[in-house]
């Protein structure tokens, strides 16, 4: 049996082996409440996958499972060939080093300045010198348009500014994968654009693999390579981003898109 599995893995089709994120039949429930009902999907390297769906559909949970912030009940999730769901704690920490996570509510460290928020992980986790980390941190702040706020604490920043610092914090680890969990949902409409612009810029500069949970249709259509609707813990529809938003095939997707356009 075990040898069969190894043989299967070795002879798996090329496309499957190249998948940067490989999710197979993932199931998760909170107690008796099922959240993910057998999700399978692949994300290729450099691809930007947009996840949509009504609240409670499991999209954020899926994203958190990819980073091992939630454990799954069955199935398998692998990032860059390394299993997240079967990883020991120390392996998981290594996998997370190359994955950036951007939260809906920013989750900046309130007791550190914007610059310290960005340098803490490179210094304490990667072992960079304080000077190198500071140089890199200042460059990143510059990139997200926050250079003049380096020594300001998060409570003194607006929501959009906080999120831009949070993106810089994730980028400081030079991740190969970025996960965005509704990065603009907690923001006022006029602040959303400044954050979306930063994400576009990051994608343009790095071309890194991204999974974005968002309801920003314009952004999703321009930046996303593929889009997906989740409902009831299942994938309802999956298509290239432009097709997905221009001519969705499922009635459920049409209803959802109408609802968020009318928001």
């Amino acid at each position: 049996m075990a040898t069969d599995l190894i043989a299967t893995a070795a002879t798996a089709p090329a496309a499957e082996r190249q998948a940067f994120i490989r999710i197979r039949d993932v199931r998760k429930s909170y107690g008796a409440v099922p959240v993910l009902n057998g999700i399978s999907l692949d994300v290729a390297e450099g691809e930007v996958l947009v996840l949509c769906g009504p609240s409670g559909c499991g999209k954020s949970t899926l994203l958190r499972c990819i980073n091992g912030l939630e454990t799954i009940n069955s199935g398998d999730i692998a990032v860059d060939g390394r299993s997240v769901s079967a990883a020991r704690t120390d392996e998981l920490q290594k996998i997370r080093l190359s994955t950036g996570f951007v939260f809906q509510n920013f989750n900046l460290f309130p007791h550190m300045t914007a610059l310290q928020n960005i340098t803490i992980a490179p210094v304490k986790i990667l072992g960079l010198s304080q000077r190198d980390a500071t140089d890199r941190g200042r460059q990143l702040l510059e990139r997200v348009g926050m250079a003049e706020k380096a020594d300001v604490f998060p409570f003194q920043l607006s929501g959009g500014q906080r999120q831009r610092v949070a993106i810089a914090r994730a980028l400081a680890m030079e991740p190969t994968l970025m996960l965005f969990d509704e990065p603009t949902s907690a923001l006022d409409p006029e602040m959303r654009e400044e954050v979306l612009q930063v994400i576009r810029q990051v994608h343009h500069d790095h071309g890194m693999t991204m999974v974005v949970v968002t309801h920003e249709i314009g952004f999703a259509r321009n930046v996303g390579s593929r889009a997906m609707l989740l409902d009831g813990g299942e994938i309802v529809e999956e298509a290239p981003a432009r097709t997905f938003f221009a001519s969705p095939t499922h009635e459920r997707t049409r209803r959802f898109l109408r609802a968020i356009v009318n928001e």
């Binding site: 080093l97 994955t99 950036g100 989750n107 460290f109 309130p110 992980a121 304490k124 986790i125 998060p154």
Partner: protein, 222 residues
């Protein structure tokens, strides 16, 4: 009331009485340091994944916050030497008793502060590759420190106040000297009032110090 106040005795013996503060401080200050350090360690242990660490923390806290300080003090000073053959100076016994009691109280204060840190902070740190220990060291403990300061001040005040029970094993602090002088001069009101004023002054001074420490917090929770 036909008591004649003679605060004049304090002119002569006030300095001796006040000298007891030196002993009170050098008994309570080490106890404050030990109880705080031990309290942080116990609070960290209480959040460990290892059941043995959590269990040890619970047993320690429940034992030393239920033991009355007087019982603990007498036990350490008079009973422990019978069991171990090692006898300690009154000040040493007092520091140990006050530290153990203070650590149990400090642990609960820190635990409250740590549990008040949102879980999202832990997740943000984990997503950057922080280990559980580093999350504690760099993210939750520094935030909990300032959140805990007001209740930690209360713990420290309790430790200082508990110094007065060391009168039982003859640590020459203020209460011991007040008792000594009262027996000699039959002036309880003057000497015990003097002791009260001295302790209030010591503890009030300490709280001012702690408030200054609170003001060092330049950030605000969000």
């Amino acid at each position: 009331m036909n008591y004649t106040f003679q605060f004049g005795v304090l002119n002569d013996y006030g300095p001796y009485l006040a000298g007891g503060l030196w002993h009170a401080w050098w008994t309570s200050f080490p106890a404050i340091i030990f109880s705080t350090v031990l309290g942080v360690a116990l609070a960290a242990m209480s959040m460990s994944r290892l059941w043995i660490a959590r269990g040890a923390s619970v047993v320690f806290v429940d034992l030393f916050r239920t033991l009355p300080v007087v019982v603990l003090l007498i036990w350490i000073h008079y009973v422990m030497p019978i069991l171990t053959g090692v006898s300690l100076s009154p000040t040493m016994s007092s520091v140990i008793a006050l530290s153990l009691n203070g650590a149990a109280l400090a642990c609960e204060a820190f635990r409250g502060g740590l549990e008040a840190i949102p879980q999202t902070q832990v997740q943000a740190a984990q997503s950057l590759g922080f280990s559980r220990w580093k999350v504690m060291r760099y993210i939750t403990l520094p935030q909990a420190f300032f959140a805990t300061l007001p209740s930690l001040t209360n713990v420290h005040i309790t430790v200082i106040k508990n110094v007065t029970v060391t009168v039982l094993i003859a640590v020459p602090e203020v209460m011991f000297r007040a008792q000594e002088l009262t027996v000699q001069f039959f002036r309880p009101l003057e000497f015990y009032t003097g002791a009260a004023v001295l302790y209030v002054a010591l503890i009030w001074g300490y709280t001012i110090l702690m408030r200054m420490l609170e003001r060092l917090q330049k950030w605000q929770p969000i």
